[in-house]
Symmetry: D2
Subunit: 137 residues, 4 copies
């Protein structure tokens, strides 16, 4: 589990600030985050975050779901991720929820989805992560 | 084909400026772009663009490959995209090259890859796009 | 919903007989099936169905989940499917459960998983289907 | 490289015989195979192999591309594979060509495509394989 202090530190990183991401929770293989997309990353559809921003939220939130099950000296990195865009992402803020489906010694298999402010699904995906040694700086 | 004037206009958009993307060429179903990742999107690995930024470059460059084959009143939107991370993205700038594999009346199937400054592959992917009516603002 | 008579007819097809597939249920966007893999398709790992057989079960079971929500003159065909292999498929029979996540006028987005006889996940996936006009012969 | 004798032995396996698969070549990270789909696996579209059969050809042909680069005591197993169906698979026989894009100590990244008798693409995909110890029986 990742405590409030660690989450607060993570949420100050420059990537999240630039895009508008905030991790809300990560514990026992589940995680959630919120995307309030920064204006500059809403393009080409006015008011809608680019699909790559939705991907970034999904990818990073999946990572925390996996990390929440690992000892502190381990971390993870994405091997591959497949994302589906279900509907236009028009109603911010967005909430992303992820879950570790299965873990082996070196791999983690994750799934996640993003819903809009009305709870309507806008994207979902599945991914394979590699478990690595890397302590967060 | 997208002429220099159109490319120049596209390359001024706020998403590209924020992340460090520049489309170089898009013609007859092929396209290429360059990523000089902005400092703030290089996280958590120092000096390396987040995987979501690589995804964004791949996704948007694929879109231009497809758009380059469409009449001006049509555009496209991603249905799904699978990305594989082959190696750490350490040596900027990165070059992304994409190709339209097949097109039906409503769908486009694309593939693309990203190489680092030494020409070493760092990511690759395939995607399905939907062809829609939408004129770039 | 697909009634018993229709399911019985579907389950007599030559593909299912050859591989060992039986659809159990398909109703309101959910479906399930059972795989008792035929001996000849268990290769190269003795006693284990080839990954392509697991894929086939997943793909066809997803299709029924979508079809269960369509009028009888419509059917569907796979645009793309991503499958993950979570663990060796050693304990037959296998059960596959699928769910329609989202449907638009022309597309269906599905997810599914396969568990072994002990309920342990062995594979899971997500897919995009196209809705077409095609009446089952 | 896999010599003629080894290929002949592989091509006698029960899975390939049941589906109609024959590996033609596997050398230095590239491989090809042929699918003459057996009648029983052509369903539900008359004369067309089920998408799962196309997947099986792609998956197994990718594996040989990777195996062709490995010492004889090593083999591989699919972690995940994304397949796209580009067009109806109507004109048999089909030819599948695969290529190892990148290999690390434990992982192989592959791509492949299937064309029909006229050379028209019907499916393509990308996959991640795990390198394991397993000698072919």
């Amino acid at each position: 589990m990742m405590d409030r202090k660690l989450l607060a530190r993570i949420n100050r990183n420059s990537l999240y600030k630039t895009l508008g991401i905030k991790v809300l929770e990560a514990s026992q293989g589940s995680s959630s985050s919120r995307l309030d997309p920064a204006g500059p990353v809403c393009w080409p559809f006015p008011g809608q975050p680019h699909g790559g921003i939705l991907f970034t939220v999904l990818d990073t939130t999946m990572a925390w779901a996996l990390v929440s099950t690992l000892p502190s000296e381990l971390n993870c990195t994405t091997i591959d991720l497949s994302i589906q865009y279900l509907a236009p992402a028009q109603a911010a803020p967005f909430t992303c929820s992820c879950r570790l489906k299965h873990k082996t010694g070196r791999l983690g298999f994750l799934e996640g989805q993003i819903v809009d402010a009305d709870g309507k699904p806008v994207a979902s995906g599945q991914a394979t992560f590699r478990i690595i040694k890397f302590a967060m700086p």
